[in-house]
Symmetry: C2
């Protein structure tokens, strides 16, 4: 039950692009450094984000990557799903595939509620809102995981 | 970002055992049928649940599996973690391994909040509470996933 590395890098790179001055285009090596992602792996992530209409990608000297307005306003959920497809905590929550136990399984409503709670948080924050929390020194208050 | 099949089957089997009359011991083939799990796969899940002290396991004619009081009162989170280890939505939330971005990454607090929200739901329900929702006909109101 863990986010894929690709989705993690996608959030990192979207937020980084959104912190850059308007009209700035960034190149893959710089983005790989900023996100601590392997360049070849990040390249595929950028392609998917571009196909999803969240960033623009241009080749050549005046090329590079830039966040599109739609990408700036995308929620964390949208960025994750652009990479991994619909968030689905358990197979029984997959709208497409039916679980034959779904109609009576007493655990099903709990999975649905847990997924809803997580998605609500991921839908509550946009890329631009997260980018605003990045100070010029790149420091925001440390949050610990209190699970 | 999906639950493992092993953890899904673990929740199914724990709930099923908790619906049986007290002192009842169940055998693997029956449990496999009740949970729609492959018998060999479920066997490993049962072993892990037994090591975690959530069920008792006895060999022989008078053997079989039974839920222990601690298993009955275990939350869904505890059952999942008995199988998969600590729930960790993103690598940066892993208490053991440090993410060098954690102290300043603006996405980190959002991951932490999303994980907290999901865990809160999974901690709010015990095996016995879920089992109580199973009617003799195995029917509870259908819940749809509204993500």
């Amino acid at each position: 039950m863990q986010l894929t590395r690709a989705a993690d890098y996608a959030v990192r790179v979207m937020v980084h692009l959104a912190t850059l001055p308007p009209e700035t285009r960034a190149f893959l090596p710089d983005l790989a450094e900023a996100t601590s992602a392997p360049e070849s792996f990040l390249s595929k992530v950028m392609q998917t984000l571009s196909h999803a209409g969240l960033i623009s990608s241009r080749r050549g000297k005046l090329g590079g990557f830039a966040v599109l307005p739609r990408g700036r306003e995308a929620t964390m959920r949208e960025v994750i799903e652009a990479i991994d497809g619909p968030i689905c905590l358990n197979v029984c929550l997959n709208g497409g595939k039916e679980c034959e136990r779904k109609s009576w399984c007493p655990a099903h409503p709990v999975w649905a509620r847990a997924q809803r709670a997580m998605i609500d948080v991921l839908m509550s924050v946009t890329v631009s809102a997260i980018a605003l929390r990045t100070s010029p020194q790149g420091s925001v208050p440390l949050s610990t995981c209190d699970n």
